[in-house]
Amino acid sequence: MKRFIGFVKKEFYHIFRDRRSLFILFGMPIAQIMLFGFAITNEINNVDIAILDHSKDTNTEEIINKISASKYFSINQFIDKESDIETIFKKGKIKAVLNFEKDFSKNLIKDYKANIQIVTDATDPNTANTISNYINAILTQYNKELNNKVAFSYQIVPQTRMVYNPELKSVYMFVPGVMTIILMLVSAMMTSISIAREKELGTMEILLVSPLKPFQVIVGKVFPYIFLSIINAIVIVVLSIFIFKMPVLGSLVLLGLESVLFIITALALGILISTISATQQTAMMISLMGLMLPVILLSGFIFPISSMPLPLQVISNIIPAKWFIIIIKGIMLKGVGIQFIWKETLILVGMTIFFIGISVKKYKIRLE
């Protein structure tokens, strides 16, 4: 036990004396959660739009008022002719133009139909799409209000309800993802690098010649990272609750236990990587390419798995992060208990045992 404490102490010296690892351990989680929470978002807010109103009558005025009253848009400019659209788009500030046809109110009364053209700047297709959807929604709403005044029959009015994330806040989607990335980064990458470092420096050989058992060496190296990962997980959850008002509907204990399980999965992966890489460089490359990329691209964190081509959907099953994201989304957003996520949990447990099994086999206790 005393040996173990001495070993762990030494490991903490390594971590706290290396600015790079300190940054990855503590700067990264906070920076990532802030970035994803504030900067990278699918929502639109205060988008600048311009109005080209050929009618200037009651109806167009009502619509314009409605749009400018919403927090999504701010009307930046009124223009007079079609040729101006191109000019203002080129300046780049205005993202959409609403073009009301001539005699808007008159047409509405005469033909029950009037036209608005929505022109969006689609250099950023996602934003353009969102803007046009939002404007459409406002118009539909207005349409309905008009129709209520006139008695109309047979209307199908879809009532969409977004459950679990009613405001469609993107931070709800990012927190589980960021948490997964950070735990993967700290647990798998940092451990594999730190073990590879001992190999590279030749100190691993000295440790193996010492009376320490190989598994004591590994546990001693891994332990500080378990500890730091748990702290990181707590920091992320606390930040998301207090800064982003993200709800944690399910049990915090379950969330904690599942996180520890995932940390162990990631550590097992880290040890596995370190057994096959002789230098820190290799360990880092394998971790980045083999772990981080799949976590970001294939885990369902950013891109929905259901819209991937079939082969990628199949591959996504072997990525531990995918299952962990399902688990924590379930606990945080849906408030589910273990009875709904035992399958995913079991898969993670299975993967962990598998990784540890191979590492033990691959770990060369006596070099050759």
Binding site: L201, G202, V209
Partner: protein, 242 residues
Amino acid sequence: MSIHNVIQVEGLTKKFGDFTAVNAISFKVEKGEIFGFLGANGAGKTTAMKMLIGISIPSSGKATVAGFDVFTHAESIKKSIGYMSQKFALYDDLTVKENITFFGGIYGLSRKRIRQKSAVLIEELGLEKVANKLVGALPLGWKQKLSFSVSMIHDPKIVFLDEPTGGVDPITRRQFWEMIYKAANQGITVFVTTHYMDEAEYCDRVSIMVNGKIEALDTPKKLKEQFKVANMNDVFLKLARG
């Protein structure tokens, strides 16, 4: 087995597939002896040494180190030996004291014993002023001397040195050998590999490995007489060229 022989090796062999790295070597090392283990690069020195320190399993043959069998009691061997590898292997980002404490700790020394040892060791090496500085900031020669002392922190019976003086200046090498003599005088057996033939002259006995076999084993004086040459360098060249 004689109680004076701390290392006894008989027909020790290590094969990697078809390649025989160490081919049935046999020798004995007495207590307190400085035993030089020489050979060209790739002759099999390091492989042989790894089998003796318990991190590589021999393919066949017999060997005991400090009275323990390398096949069955590798863990007991580890407690009785010290090892210093060719690569400098202390932690650069730990201070002199922290390194001593750490290695003392993994050999299971008590806290009190570590404090005593560390004070003696720092004084002997004249490292008082840098005791709380990171080891990475020390000159290579100092590091090597510190590394040697740390490898003996648990008072081992035998200390294995794998090319300990690689890359250090002649003065430091000289001091290093004084430390080796001092250890031998205290009854610690020193098993040392080296490339420097002048260092071979300092050893009590020398073995020379060529292609996995021990081709010569005797005191430096007798080896020179046997091969009718003036120095160990020529002994080595004669053997290595075949």
